[in-house]
Amino acid sequence: MSATGWLLSMRGKMHFAVGARELVYVLPDEPEIHQVPLAPAPAPGVIVWEDRVVPVIDVGLLLGGAHEAADDRTTSLAAMSCVAGIVAYTSDTAADDGVELGALIFRKIPEQVEVSDDQARELPDELIAHAALFTSCFEHTDLGPVPVLNLAALFSRAQAALVRVA
């Protein structure tokens, strides 16, 4: 059995994936991020999309400490060329149909990927501490292990707690 998803290239040469229906929209232009003062660095602000305030998470920065040294981890979003994508996830606290929106920062446009059951593998050791942020992990032919993001956990948890374990 196989499923399709989106392969996300984050800063720090990190790669993650989300389900095919979880990536709603990729912003065609450089995102205008409205900084929220005193927000945690991995969640620096919000973007306005379709008259909605959508929180932005820089997963590369959030989890970068768990990966090999990356030359662009410390670069501010304003200084780096990036792409933002709107993702949707379900939440118990959301209104109506339970769908919430968030935004993720990518280094390049996401690519579609098809994954079969026999590609499943364990999370890399360096991400075990963050297991709650992932639903699964698969082996990519070229990239190695690619964790699949648990968007509800990512956007519903206070970043302060995440940063402590990062």
Partner: protein
């Protein structure tokens, strides 16, 4: 990709006053804005604690605060900061906040949300965000800003957040209703 029918619930906000500090826009309920005074009237020789000075009002003297875009205290107002907005600080009494521009915003054009869960930290002074056109305002009551300015945002820019977080107020979800 698919269309999304809803996202975070957006509620209409009451009338607000927006206070521009560089690219950051703070917001308070319009009823908390008492008056606007020129920065030239601020006595910067008389600054104590976190304040950048004081200003004399008909009701007495009150502290004046000045912050940067990251809400760190500034002791010296920047040239673009020309207005001292006098706000109702609740139990703390009135206080001044130096800013670049002040605007009254009608409730019809405003939509508010709470601070997204992933952005909540114990030291955040915000109760929510309000969307006005393409602008995002950082919202809290005058009383809450007064507490933050006087008790928390004491250190000049550059002080690590963790060093000052113990001094700051906890996020108070109950405050959110003040502006809705």
């Amino acid at each position: 990709m698919r269309a999304c029918q809803n996202a975070a619930p957006i509620r209409q906000a009451a009338q607000l006053a927006s206070l521009c500090v560089g690219r950051l826009t703070l917001a308070v309920p319009l009823r908390d804005l008492q008056s606007l005074e020129p920065v030239l009237d601020v006595d910067t020789q008389n600054c104590g604690g976190a304040s950048a000075g004081t200003i004399d009002l008909r009701t007495g003297r009150c502290p004046v605060y000045c912050v940067d875009e990251s809400l760190a205290i500034l002791k010296d107002p920047r040239p673009e900061h020309r207005i001292c907005a006098i706000l109702d600080g609740g139990d703390a009494g009135p206080f001044g906040l130096i800013c670049g521009a002040v605007e009254a915003l009608e409730g019809d054009g405003l939509a508010s949300v709470g601070v997204p869960p992933c952005m909540r930290t114990p030291d955040s002074p915000l109760e929510g965000l309000t969307l006005h056109g393409r602008r995002v305002l950082c919202r809290r009551t005058g009383a809450a800003w007064a507490r933050f300015m006087s008790a928390g945002a004491l250190e000049p820019a550059g002080v690590e957040r963790s060093e000052r977080s113990h001094m700051l107020t906890e996020l108070d979800p109950g405050m959110d209703e003040d502006c809705v």
